[in-house]
């Protein structure tokens, strides 16, 4: 018999060691998220997955599931906070969706649509973040970086390479690459790296294939991010497969 907690009034079973987010996704309940990725240790930095646990706001991706917790997620108060966080991320970087080759495959954009973010909300910061086009096969467009560290984690934990790292602090925090020249061409990154696949926005891009999949036929054109996230969620082998 497994323990359960309550998510928006529904019983959610969990295995020992699972976080609220992991248990929710496995049980087919969506909680908005950005820096969380099912294959990596929860990070807890974007705060999109903030829920109310017994009245207190917590990041659900790092909050260990416990029997009897009362978790609220799908409430207007939290969605309003999430909209503000999405607006903050849009204002912090330089995000021009209409000309971005990641449009339609971008989690930030998809979350914006799904949470119904209708306006900019804040003055844009317009940071100066030069591109790195030094690598023959890969382009880095730092303008879109949301500092989720997924590429840092993938390169270190899966690829064993440490191509990426974060430098600076506060609002001058930024992504760097592991080379004395500071350029991607002088790292050992390759197209087949996990780090190439995990960027939720449009920072790490393979060259020359940007628009091979037409806009309109892309990932989040098919179904909204809330549905896609559930399809991607890992399920226990014994559990019912989502279709």
């Amino acid at each position: 018999m497994t323990d359960t907690f309550q998510l928006d009034g529904v019983s959610v079973p969990f295995e020992p060691g699972q976080t609220v987010m992991q248990a929710a996704l496995a049980a087919d309940h969506y909680i908005p998220h950005l820096c969380y990725h099912p294959e990596f240790k929860p990070h807890g930095s974007c705060k999109l997955c903030t829920v109310k646990v017994n009245g207190r706001t917590m990041a659900s991706c790092t909050m260990p599931a416990e029997a009897g917790l009362e978790v609220q997620s799908e409430i207007e108060e939290l969605n309003a906070l999430r909209r503000t966080l999405v607006q903050m991320l849009f204002a912090e970087g330089n995000h021009f969706c209409p000309s971005c080759e990641k449009s339609g495959n971008c989690m930030l954009q998809a979350l914006g649509y799904d949470l119904e973010v209708h306006a900019a909300g804040f003055r844009h910061q317009y940071p100066d973040r030069p591109l790195d086009a030094s690598h023959p096969d890969i382009l880095l467009d730092f303008n879109r970086c949301i500092l989720c560290e997924l590429c840092v984690r993938a390169s270190s934990e899966v690829d064993g390479k440490n191509v990426f790292a974060l430098a600076g602090r506060g609002n001058s925090k930024h992504l760097i690459v592991n080379a004395e020249s500071g350029q991607l061409k002088d790292t050992d990154i390759s197209l087949s790296d996990k780090a190439m696949q995990v960027c939720p926005v449009g920072v790490i891009l393979p060259k020359r294939v940007g628009f091979s999949q037409p806009i309109g036929e892309r990932r989040y054109d098919e179904s909204p991010i809330s549905a896609q996230a559930l399809q991607d969620a890992p399920r226990p082998p014994s559990g019912a497969k989502h279709d």
């Binding site: 930095s45 705060k47 990041a59 966080l85 440490n162 790292a165 600076g168």
Partner: protein, 608 residues
Amino acid sequence: MLPDANPIYGESPQCDLHADLHEIVARHCGEKTNLLQLLIEVQACAGYIPDDAASYIAAALDIPRARIESVASFYSFLHLQPAGEYRVLFSDNITDRMLGNQDLMEQMCRQLWVQPGKVSEDGLLSINTTSCTGMCDQGPAMLVNGHAITRLGSQRIQEIGQLIRNRTPVAEWPADYFKVENNIRRGGLILDNKLAYGQVLQATRAVAPATIIDTIKGSNLRGRGGAGFPTGMKWAACRDAQGDAHYVVCNADEGEPGTFKDRVLLTTQADLVFEGMTLCARAVGAKKGFLYLRGEYRYLLGHLHAVLQRRRDSELLGENILGEQGFDFDIEIHLGAGAYICGEESALIESLEGKRGVPRNRPPFPVTHGYLQQPTAVDNVETFCQAVLALHMGAVAYHAIGTEKSSGSKLISVSGDCASPGIYEYPFGVSVRQILSDCGAVNTRAVQISGPSGICIGEHEFERKLGFEDLPTAGAFMVFDDSRDMFEVARNFVHFFAHESCGFCTPCRVGTSMLKQTMDKVAAGHGTQHDLTEIENLDHVLQTTSHCGLGRTACNPVLHTLKHFRPAYESRLKSLDFEPAFDLDGALARARQMTGRDDAGAHLKENE
């Protein structure tokens, strides 16, 4: 001579990084956990961390080169680019501002032909601001190449400018500049203690560790860092946690603007601090302890190392302490390098491990998964001192001091508008009005209790009492009289939080810098009612979704001053019903700078 005579950390004009780098790395045994300490030494030697040194260290420690850049760029005292032979940092707490630091900085910039934040053309110097350096009772203060200078005035600035221009090594500057007074105005339990060093360790030789913890529990001692967690419970949880090793950490990263009590404790009561750590080690079963000292207090290193050595020589540290078989404990000092966030215990532990000081996800907590994921008891400098007194007096006698929920005494760092700024020790339960009267404050408009992250109270609340029941405090007590503009106080604090945000979570990274921009906009006279709404919205997001206490409290200064002093905000607003998105006159700032003009003709007329 400088008070810091330690050759390891002192600035040395003969330092040759290429010759010394090998030795610096070797001294740290090539340990990754010493990366930050190593970088601090390279910085002290060369004035910055050169590219080739970064590559050499990465290879020697077998870590990715990007990690050097990642760690170094987190700490504001470390530089990856040359930052001048003389790096001048003006302490920029509101108390420094009230004592005129901005005029002094402008004077120095003019004298030496340099712009704030830029390195001079000849590479001689840079001038910038830094967060509170803990000298609020004797400001305005500055750091030059990491050395604290107090009681600045126009004359002293003039002299310093001349010394820099003549390239006089900092070690040869007049000793009077570096003099730090203790300014103890009122003693008590801690400051007037007559204990001999080692006395309480000696007295508790036969006492079982569990009994030590019971006494601390019974004394009702609570952490003095501000949060007030029961110390006995923390030590018990640490002792009970499974691990390969247990650690004791003393948090001397006193970064909260307006606080300087730990500076005075480490100066006058270092033995009490180390005795408290050693007693804690015995209680939790630790063999190793760390004192994490904020970089601003680097000048105390020589003194602290000497006290540690004397204690080792007296069998109070090292192996078989006081002859007790298996009671081994020693203390290592780690330096910070300009990061307020490292005062948060899990960020402090990250920093101790040589990493960026980013607060960890909790749970698990440091008592079970702290330094190197091992059980770790982290306590404030003052808490360790109080623990010694509690064990000396016994639980009942200690519990009797103060109030029901707040036992013992509290050191208060008083600064701002008063006749006698300095350190005051009171039993818990003292009223704000009492302290104001003792420090000679008149016409007081407001008091900021416990620093920017604490609370700001107005005159009608001065009967409130310090203690966990009413006004919890880490010790800062900044006094503002009726000549002060409370909007500017809040704006200074907002700038502080934006500068010190670690940038890990979205709300704090973006929110604190947006809050800063909005406050600046209001200050410049371009604010509207919409901006006050935006401030309140940002406050809400910060408070509810931030990763750690920094973000959650970053909005306090604005919330509290808006509550008590709303007219200070509203008087600055334009009575417009739309928000100007573009500041036409502001856009000409660069042109004015290039042409060296700032007269009326170089500004657009305000048309309202």
